[in-house]
């Protein structure tokens, strides 16, 4: 009800400020793209031999893929004015579940992949049920799952990782298509499979958010829940669905990460949710809901991957890395929102 900001009755006076704001929202992506290019140039200058190489770009994209997939789900969640703090924990739990499903003698990648996807989706559904039908605040419900998921990951194999190195489709050398190892190390025309998965999900996410009834409903629920309900949007179903989607994508993240790691570790995915949320927010999706950008999230994920790669290449110490990362994120957000500086 703090409606002074929502007051538009006096057309032109309000209009001007709000119009600027609207334009800024659009421009946000361009600013972030600029930050990305700038960081790349900085990297190219500081590490001319090793940073601006095709090999390194491929490496950064691969590294971005896991967080990227999680961030796509997170974009939908945040668009409804929700939050999912449990993606990292769900990812770890799904990996362990898939791992023990396969067992010691298993060579079936499909069992692992299906197991991980299903288990992560189930955990996401628990979140969804608690939030949409139990009316638990998303922050609390997913904070609980943050703890539960990690606990399950540790419980499933007595705190130990499960090795998945054998899941390469049964052949030596190049992993078989659609085997687990293929998702980790396989390449199609020189580009890792995990990058295709990431890009595929990004494109699908863009279409879903911007070009379908579902996506429109998601943003409507975040933008004005009451108005959405009065316009006939099935609000609860929509809220339910985004957490299920987030769980499913955590499962996809599991497959990509475990494939690359050759094992499922109960401590993996630690605090991935913070990177995912960070990427979504610097991409211009509003934490208050109602405004979401898949392209922004994509750029945000790349920015994080680029920062990490650059700082590791420069061999900065941890403490310097942490401060630098924080400053870049803060700077990127400030650059995007000049109207926030008052």
């Amino acid at each position: 009800m703090t409606t002074s900001q929502a007051d538009a009755a006096e057309g032109p006076s309000r209009a001007a400020g709000a119009l600027e704001r609207a334009k800024t929202a659009e421009a946000q992506q361009y600013v972030l793209a600029g930050v990305l290019v700038l960081l790349f140039i900085v990297g190219a200058v500081l590490k001319p031999d090793t940073f601006p190489t095709w090999d390194n770009i491929r490496n950064m994209l691969t590294q971005a893929s896991v967080i990227g997939v999680l961030a796509m789900g997170m974009t939908f969640v945040i668009a409804t004015a929700g939050i999912d703090l449990s993606v990292g924990s769900m990812l770890a739990a799904a990996g362990l579940f898939g791992g023990i499903l396969v067992g010691d003698d298993g060579t079936s990648s499909l069992v692992f992949i299906a197991g991980a996807l299903v288990f992560a989706t189930v955990l996401g559904t628990v979140n969804a049920t608690a939030i949409a039908y139990g009316r638990v605040v998303p922050f609390i419900a997913t904070l609980a799952m943050f703890s539960i998921g990690r606990g399950i990951a540790l419980l499933l194999n007595d705190k130990l990782p499960v090795s998945l190195l054998d899941l390469n489709g049964g052949s030596f050398g190049e992993p078989a298509v659609f085997s687990l190892a293929w998702f980790g190390n396989g390449r199609i025309i020189g580009i890792p499979v995990s990058v295709y998965v990431f890009l595929g999900i990004t494109i699908a996410g863009w279409v879903l958010l911007n070009r379908t009834r579902y996506g429109r409903y998601v943003v409507a629920v975040g933008g004005n829940r009451e108005a959405a309900r009065i316009a006939g949007v099935p609000v609860r179903k929509i809220i339910f669905s985004v957490y299920v989607l987030s769980g499913l994508l955590a499962g996809v993240g599991t497959v990509l990460l475990c494939a690359r790691l050759g094992s499922a570790s109960p401590v993996s995915g630690n605090l991935y949710e913070l990177d995912a949320i960070g990427a979504v927010v610097i991409g211009g999706t509003s934490l208050a809901g109602g405004r979401a950008s898949i392209v922004g999230t994509f750029l945000g994920v790349l920015t994080f991957a680029l920062i990490f790669s650059l700082m590791t290449q420069l061999n900065l110490s941890t403490e310097v890395q942490q401060v630098t990362k924080g400053l870049i994120v803060l700077g990127a957000v400030l650059l995007q929102r000049p109207e926030a500086r008052y």
Binding site: M1, T2, T3, S4, A6, D7, A8, A9, E10, G11, P12, S13, R14, A15, A16, G17, A18, L19, E20, A22, A25, V207, R211, T212, R213, R216, Y217, V219, A220, G223, N224, E226, A227, A228, R229, I230, A231, G232, V233, P234, G290, R291
Partner: protein, 504 residues
């Protein structure tokens, strides 16, 4: 009498827009100075300049002979300029007393003096004739009308020399408006100057001393007497003559569209039955708090009813399922457009099509068709600006209402329910909305209108139902209805008469 506020040649420019292009205003001590003008004329910008919320580009504002510091709300307040904004700027989670004393809480040492806060706010509310509002209640739990009273109490909590009221009566009903006027008269009696903004021309004659008319960011007439004829004022405001405020009264058919049987949800709705036929506009009158809005919510399925059934075309609607009600042809334009009807950061197009996306959706949405169809509807309603991509936030109240109407036109709904359809809408747009409602009825829709403006119900309805304390207590045929009769039904018979001249 001394001039307390003197505004000279005030200009305010936003990038690309000139909101004020030279405004003059003189307000005297102990007078009620009415400020008139269509939406977008610059009224809000003007008062924001005076209250310090906005810094003018150029021009002079002198208060009690001294220049007011520009863009300094605290400074304006300290000198005795208090403002009640059109939109309630209250924090819902605070208590009434906390809201009244927000940012100037009485303190004892470093601690809040809660006792004093409760005591003083109770005294202020009593001064406004609203002892009934508990100082400890949460603001969010109050009806808008009561929230308005809290806003006024808050403005009065300091030492006020000039009180600016932006459409204070928009959400009040007859008796509450009278109480408000009492308060205003008392304040002017104490020598306070009041700037009063309203779209209701009749109020100006009842409370105003002088009138200033703004049009298009400039002063069209400065300090006219309040007795200036309505036609003249309207002409000044819109720059042309408004031919006819109310269209021909639609006559209903026998075809039953909506039937409500014994709808009940205590305490607001205590068993209501009503029927709406094709081609008629049914009014729902009554005081604020008589259960009208709650009834609409029950019919629409937004709240779970305790008892009762709703039928459309003889088919029963499942309770608490607005999506099913919409599918059956029901539409609702809610009371508060901004918080209940629109996604403000969305374009007009997206807001229009929200209830009908399935039309444009195969696997993906056909954005082009969507836009074209939305535009058709918007153009038919003469929404300005004619820009389907314009954000809803940037539209005036009247045009926002048209966007909501366009949504239900696109949906081709059978029964349209309008809750306070002209609240915060200027005279010219009001006339347009009345015409639209009338046309819809003539096209065979059933329309159910809730309004606190009795004149409006009298003007457009085929029938008017009057609600009191959650029940329908009277039905009056449109052509026989008078404001007086409706008001008589609306107030409880045991109550003291609300208006002096109503004594019979």
């Amino acid at each position: 009498m001394n001039t307390i506020l003197e505004v000279r040649d005030l200009v305010k420019e936003y990038p690309g827009v000139k909101a004020l292009r030279g405004v003059d205003l003189d307000v005297r001590e102990a007078e009620v100075h009415c400020l008139l003008g269509p939406n977008g004329a610059g009224k809000s910008t003007l008062i924001k300049c005076v209250s310090g919320a906005v810094e003018p580009t150029s021009g002079q504002i002198r208060f009690q002979g001294e220049p007011l510091p520009a863009g300094d709300p605290a400074g304006s307040l300290k000198r005795g300029v208090a403002t009640i904004y059109q939109e309630l700027d209250l924090v819902e989670d605070l208590s009434v007393a906390e809201s009244v004393f927000l940012a100037h809480e009485p303190r004892r040492g470093p601690l809040l003096d809660l006792d004093k806060m409760y005591r003083d706010s109770a005294a202020l509310l009593a001064r406004l004739g609203h002892e009934g509002i508990p100082p400890r209640a949460k603001v969010g739990a109050l009806r808008p009308a009561a929230q308005q009273i809290v806003s006024i109490a808050r403005a009065l909590s300091g030492d006020v020399r000039l009180l600016i009221m932006d459409e204070p009566s928009a959400i009040l009903d007859g008796s509450e408006i009278e109480t408000l006027f009492e308060v205003v008269r008392r304040l002017t009696g104490e020598g306070v100057g009041v700037v009063y903004i309203s779209h209701r021309l009749d109020e100006i004659r009842r409370i105003g001393d002088r009138v200033t008319v703004l049009a298009d960011g400039a002063t069209a007439a400065n300090g006219l007497p309040a007795t200036t004829p309505t036609d003249e004022l309207v002409e000044l405001m819109v720059g042309r003559k408004v031919d006819q405020l109310y269209p021909d009264r639609p006559v209903g058919t026998d075809k039953l569209l909506l039937e409500v049987k014994d709808a009940k949800r205590l305490p607001a709705v205590r068993g209501v039955s009503l029927r709406v036929h094709a081609g008629e506009v049914v009014g729902l009158g009554g005081l604020v708090g008589s259960g009208r809005t709650e009834l609409l919510r029950l019919i629409y399925g937004l709240d779970q009813p305790e008892e009762g059934e709703v039928f459309i075309d003889g088919e029963r609607l499942p309770p608490n399922r607005p999506d099913r009600a919409i599918k059956k042809g029901l539409g609702l334009a809610p009371e508060d457009r901004k918080s209940q009807a629109l996604v403000l950061d969305w374009s007009q197009t997206k807001n229009v099509t929200l209830a009908d996306l399935h039309r444009f959706s195969r696997l993906v949405l056909n954005i082009k068709t969507e836009r074209a169809r939305a535009r058709e509807q918007l153009q038919q309603l003469q929404t300005v600006p004619d820009d389907p991509d314009r954000h809803a936030r940037l539209l005036s109240g009247g045009n926002q209402q048209k966007v909501v109407l366009a949504r239900w036109l696109l949906h081709e709904c059978r029964v349209l329910m309008l809750d306070e359809p002209t609240r915060g809408v200027d005279v010219a747009t009001k006339a347009e909305i009345y015409r639209i409602v009338s046309d819809l009825a003539k096209a065979g829709l059933g329309v159910l209108v809730v309004s606190s403006e009795l004149e409006e119900l009298v003007g457009i309805c085929s029938r008017v139902l009057v609600m009191r304390e959650g029940e329908i207590v009277a039905e009056v045929a449109g052509q026989d209805a008078t404001e007086r009769e409706l008001l008589r039904h609306a107030v409880a018979p045991t109550d003291a008469p609300v208006l002096a001249e109503e004594v019979e």
